[in-house]
Structure formats: C-alpha cells, structure tokens
Symmetry: C2
Subunit: 421 residues, 2 copies
C-alpha cells in the first residue's frame, strides 16, 4: 500500500471571502453567499473569470430545518452563473464547511478538477431561539438529545468535568471570553464589536441615565461574575460563555498548486487536512477531550510533516468558552490540563506566543454554523497574507496557521493547516 495521508497533487488557496456575520431578518442564504462570493472575487490579486470554476462544494448544517429548504448546491450555483457544473453539499453539523474545503482539496488533488470553489452558509435567524436550540440539537449524537441535553448543557458538563479534573474554575473561562471580545472590535466582519469593558461601561452609563443605582463593577471579571449581568445558561456556562445565533456565508477559491501563481503572487498552500469522528458523550472515555479532534490533528500533522510547535496561530471552535481550552490541548498546542493556564498567562492573546481566535472567534465573530469552517480559514488567509489590519499578529515571520472545527458534540472534527512559502 501507498503511504497514507499524502496528496498526489498540491492544492493552493488563491482567494477568500466572507459576509459580515450577524442577524439579518430581511436577508437570506442567497444574499449571504453572494456577499461572500463578491468579497472573494475582489481578493484574487490577478483576477479570474468565475466561469473557470469547475465545481462547487458548499457546507450547510440544516437550512432544511432553519428555512425549510434543502439542496443548496444548485441553488447557490445558479446565483453565480455556475450551472450546469457540479455543486455538492457537505454536512457535518458545525463542521460542514470544513468538510466542503476538504472535498474541494480532494477533487483537485485527484486530478479531476483544477479550480474549485468551496464555502458554507447558514441562515439561523428566521426561527425563535427555542427552535434554533431544537434544530441544533439534531447535530448531537442521538442518545444525548434523548437524554435531554442541549448544547449549553453538553458544554456545561464538559466544563464541570474539566474543572474537577484539572482544578480550573469560572475565572479561567472568563479569560477566554475577555480575549475574544478584545479581538472582535478589530475585525470589521465580526457580529459583535465591543470589548467586555466597553459593554460593562455602557451598562453603567445606561443605569446612570435611568437614575438606577450603579453596580459596583470595576473589572471585567466582576462584571462577568454578576449573575444579573451575565446570567447562567447551564452552569458553569453563562451568557458570555456562549456563541450567538448568526447568519452568514464564507467561501474560498482553491486551485491546483501548479497554476496558483496565475491568480496571485501570494497563494497559501494546503499543508495538512485532517478529519475525525466521535461516538458521543455516552461512549467517551473522558469529557475533557475530543477523540475526533485528536484524530483529525494526527492526520493533518502526518500529511504536513509539521508539529504543534510549528503552527504559529490558530482559529479553534469556541462555540463555548470551555471548548477553546479543550481544543488548544487536543491539537497539541498545550498539554492536557495546561490549556487554561496558558490562556491565563496570555499566551493565546493577539500578542502572545500562540495567538488563538484573533478573529474574535465564534463567540464574537459569530457562528452561522455551516459557514464557520471556511470562515475560520478566512482568518488564516488574512493573517498569513498580512492583511488582517488592526488585528494583524505582530510577528513578521508569520508563515503557518491552522483551524480546528468541531461538529455537534465532537461527532465530526477537523484540522486544516495552511502555509505561506
């Protein structure tokens, strides 16, 4: 047998775009996708003709449920003049567009196509919060939902287990939240654009203006500890530990490595792609890691020949604050039980030794689930090309970045590594 986890042909990223994530009651998946596509078009330095795109892969979790329409491949194809060429939807819950990226890579590496568009979309805001919670629960592994778990409940249980095993506490989760909110105002496409301190001060001003007594918050952690300002959702997950409901789309243009410089002098190369599956919480050895992420990381590192210390920064799937801590351990950046300490010590800050979620993460950038995987890769694209503006990582030799995307309760996890050469 051949050596596994190697591609017969290299693949490059030559364009990337995303819509501004948020809540858009009067817009739909078509609007979001076109916005992301137009953004991507302008990102291709030497330009290109959309008619040259040979295939489309689109990640979507469940517009079936959210807007009662499936079969988005051809619908989105039509908008960009792509028909009659092929379009395939991939679904792996919140990792749906990381899967579309991977299938795009395979389609090119196989030799069948040279130019492939990949992306994702989700339209979540047309349902009530209760309905969205119900829809998202379809991403869990059946037993969990039958047992009464919703997603905040699942991650609350994980946080509790992590606290118990490693001695962390709520303050460590707050470090994640504060960092995400510090990065988000620097990202013009993020859903939220205020730091925790700004939110706190705004609340204080609002109280004063109404003549109400002002809460005695002087630090961000005091604010986040206040059960009125930051109410519990599923202990220890409070409101500010949870990502929002979002609408949005993302996309990337992939091409065969040998033609990448026809599109740009600054292509990124797909160094590693990994994917794993999980059995669900009922079958997990431990609630403090995701086996599927560890497997995905193993594949991605094996393909790339890189080690965790070679990855300079990453976007990881912080659907809940505890998830970010677990993921940076699972992809090998920090040892199990050491992630929360690394965050506390500032290593994961924008100016830290291992910046994490410089985009603001799912927490602040937003999490239109099907769009998130490629949305994470969009941030890697911006950073590696030195185009991240105010949130540019202050490292002149930025060369390798990665994403980790999680679907459901770890049912589908991916790791993707991009590099500049």
């Amino acid at each position: 047998m051949r050596k596994r986890h190697k591609l017969a042909r290299g693949v490059a990223v030559v364009g990337a775009g995303m819509s501004k994530f948020g809540i858009y009651k009067d817009r739909n998946s078509k609007d979001f996708f076109v916005e992301a596509f137009q953004d991507m078009r302008t990102s291709v330095d030497k330009g290109f003709d959309p008619k040259d795109i040979e295939a489309l892969y689109i990640g979507n979790f469940t517009n079936d449920f959210f807007v009662h329409q499936a079969h988005w491949g051809p619908i989105l194809s039509d908008l960009i003049g792509h028909t009659p060429k092929p379009a395939t939807r991939t679904e792996g819950a919140c990792a749906s567009s990381a899967l579309s990226f991977r299938e795009g890579v395979f389609a090119i590496a196989s030799g069948f196509y040279d130019i492939v568009l990949v992306g994702g979309v989700e339209d979540m805001s047309k349902r009530t919060t209760e309905e969205v919670t119900e829809g998202l629960a379809m991403a869990s592994i059946s037993y969990e939902r039958e047992a009464g778990f919703t997603f905040p409940g699942v991650f609350g249980a994980l946080a509790t287990a992590y606290f118990h095993q490693y001695g962390a506490n709520r303050e460590h989760l707050m470090n994640v939240t504060i960092k995400s909110h510090n990065n988000a105002p620097l990202n013009p496409r993020a859903q939220y654009n205020m730091t925790i301190r700004e939110i706190m001060n705004a609340k204080i001003e609002k109280c004063k203006a109404k003549g109400e007594s002002v809460s005695p918050w002087t630090t961000e952690k005091e604010f986040l500890s206040d059960p009125v300002a930051n109410p519990v959702v599923a202990w220890p997950m409070h409101l500010f530990d949870c990502c929002p409901i979002s609408d949005g789309a993302s996309c990337m243009l992939l091409v065969a490595e040998d033609i990448a410089r026809n599109f740009t002098d600054k292509p990124l190369y797909v160094a590693g792609i990994g994917q794993g599956s999980g059995r669900g919480l009922h079958a997990a050895d431990s609630l403090t890691y995701f086996e599927a992420t560890r497997y995905a990381a193993k594949e991605a590192y094996e393909m790339s020949g890189l080690k965790p210390e070679d990855i300079q920064f990453a976007e990881v799937h912080d659907c809940f604050s505890i998830a970010e801590i677990i993921h940076i351990e699972d992809i090998g950046f920090f040892k199990p039980g050491e992630g929360y300490k690394a965050v506390a010590e500032g290593h994961t800050r924008l100016d830290g030794s291992k910046p994490i979620n410089t985009s603001g993460g799912l927490k602040c950038k937003g999490h239109p689930v099907g769009a998130t995987g490629v949305g994470q890769l969009y941030e890697i694209w911006k950073q590696l090309r030195g185009e991240a503006g105010a949130r540019q990582i202050p490292n002149k030799n930025l060369r390798v970045g990665a994403t980790q995307n999680l679907g459901g309760t770890g049912g589908t996890c991916t790791m993707t590594i991009l590099e500049r050469r």
Copy 2:
C-alpha cells in the same frame, strides 16, 4: 493546465450491499445501514477487516426532516466500529449517495486514502404521505415550491411537454411501468414483487371473491387505463407512474486500483464519473430534457473515453415513468424524442439491446432517496459480476454498465460508469 476529468489514480469497487428496500415502521436508519453493511461484507470475495476502512461517505437527503436527526456520518460510523476515522455526509436531494460515491472516488484518487466506504440511507416511512410530499418538496429549486409544484406535478408538466413536442402519449408511459414490474419480481431486494398482470389478476380474484362485478380488463394497458384501478395523481402521472415511499440503505467498498485484487479477483473499475447542476424549471430552455444530466454525461464520457453505444445497460432515475424516457435520451442512448419509441420496441427490456432498470427501478425496487444512487450502482455490480440471478442480462460479454441519478427537479444529476476488465 492539465487535461481535465482524469484521475491521478484509478479506483475500483470490491464490495457492494443493500438492505431490502420497503416500508419498515419499526426499524430505523441504523438498522438499514447495518443490513446493507453486512450484505456488503459478505460480497467481498477474499474478505477484509472493516478496521481497514479509512473514511466513510454517506448520502442522505433529509433525515433532518423525516426523523429529526442530522449529522449521520458519525452516527453510522459508530455502528461499524469506524470512529474515530472520518465520516462525511453528502446531500444532493435524491442524488445524495451518487455524490458520496464520487467523493469516495476523489478521496482515493487524491492519494490520501486507499480504502473508503460509500453509501446512502433514508428513513421516510415515519411521516404521513402528506408530510413526505412536503419534505421532498425541499429538494426542488425554491421557486418551484413557491409556485405550488409538488414532484408529481413537476413530472406531470414534463410529461405533458414531452407528449406535445414528440407525439408520445400515456400508453408509452405504461410501457415503462410494465417493464419495471416485469423485472422487479426477479429482484429479491425490491419493494414490490408483482408484475402488472399479477396485480390485475389479483384484483379480479378479489372482486370475484367479494361477489362484485369484475372489471373487463384483459390486458395490462386496459388495467392501467382504468382511472379507478390506476387513479390520476397529477395528469398524466397516474399512481403506477410514480415510485413509492421507501426506507433503506446501500453501500460499496472502494479501493485504490492497485490493491483491488487483494479483495477480489472480480473487481469493477470506475471508468467515468460525471455530475451537473440545474437551475430549475423556471429557467429551463425546455421541459423535455435535463441540462444537468447532459453535463454529467459529458464529464463521465470524457473521463472514460467511452461513447453511449459502449454502455451495455443502465439504471436510470425513474422516480416517475416519464423520467426514465427523458434520462435514456439525455445520456445519449437514444436521440431526443426517440426514447419512448425505443421503449415501445422493447429495446430497454431485460432481453433488449439496451436493458434499463433491470432491478425494477425506483418504481418497483423502491426509492429511499439518500440510498438510491449507490443502490443503482449495486445493480451494476450484480449484473457485471454475473450475480443477478433470475434477472441476469442474457449477454455473455457484459462488460460496461452505467447509472444516472437525478436530484430534485434536475438540480443535481450524476452519471457513473463501471466496467469489468
């Protein structure tokens, strides 16, 4: 640029299985998939260890809607001990598992994996007929549903246009139905196992037993012309023009060509894969062909170097009788407007010059939508290996067969060509 639509590495099919399609109120997708998987295991001549499977691709249209559970990749992976290895769901409406097959081919051809399981599943019987009709409508291109079209309505419109343009009539559709029902009793995994004549005679016996006056049917066409025995659904689609609601699963084991003979001395080779997208009826030049199928056929023929006359038999997507006639024209077997004549002349019968839907087709084998694409390929596997039993095509030199799979109203269409060497 490289020559397009060629694979860097050949791919072979070394095992195939399917559950018996039908209505199973007390069984679910997990049961169907395990049944198909066990059937596939016994089909691998030299045996294999399921632990060697490196990735799973599973087609599913909308269990989201039908049974309120998404994210089937990891759920099915768990049943066969496949976790933590990757599992990806593909969705292209009724072509969902033709897409899983194609992604499996790309994953191997890319060099990343050597052994991949592909398949599909759908569980449709837990909803009322009205609800299933509603769910299936999510596969159409949005405007169609908004205009009030259900699927029988869409294909009724297509048939009307075809009649008008080419001079065909209902009797020509009956030829398709009668042929499908002649083949189905020879297929032990088909949902229905009676010929039209047997159904007619059974009705006559039933009337006699009840002492009712017997209808004056002496031929199958007289029976199918009786609006009580064969009521109209959406003219000219009558009950016996429409495929049923079904539950079921299908799967196939794909491996790199260079290791195929470790599994069997009779592998089949993937000669051609093609896929196309359609814009929907509102944008079609004509209602008498599917542009997406023609594009898919172009890709598949281009990759294979084969011509329509080289394909000895095929399974095509006869969700409605008219669809079979249109598809055999779109894949080039017969000229536009000639398909219905070829059927009338017997060319598409089991013993004809171009046997079509020897399995009984979607009409009689059943149509659990996500399972259909690979279910069609299962028939090609059986026929090319000479294992189709009573329905074996009487051609001693059977070497090349194809499938055509249609999703929605032509939103996603595929053509796949398998060959024996």
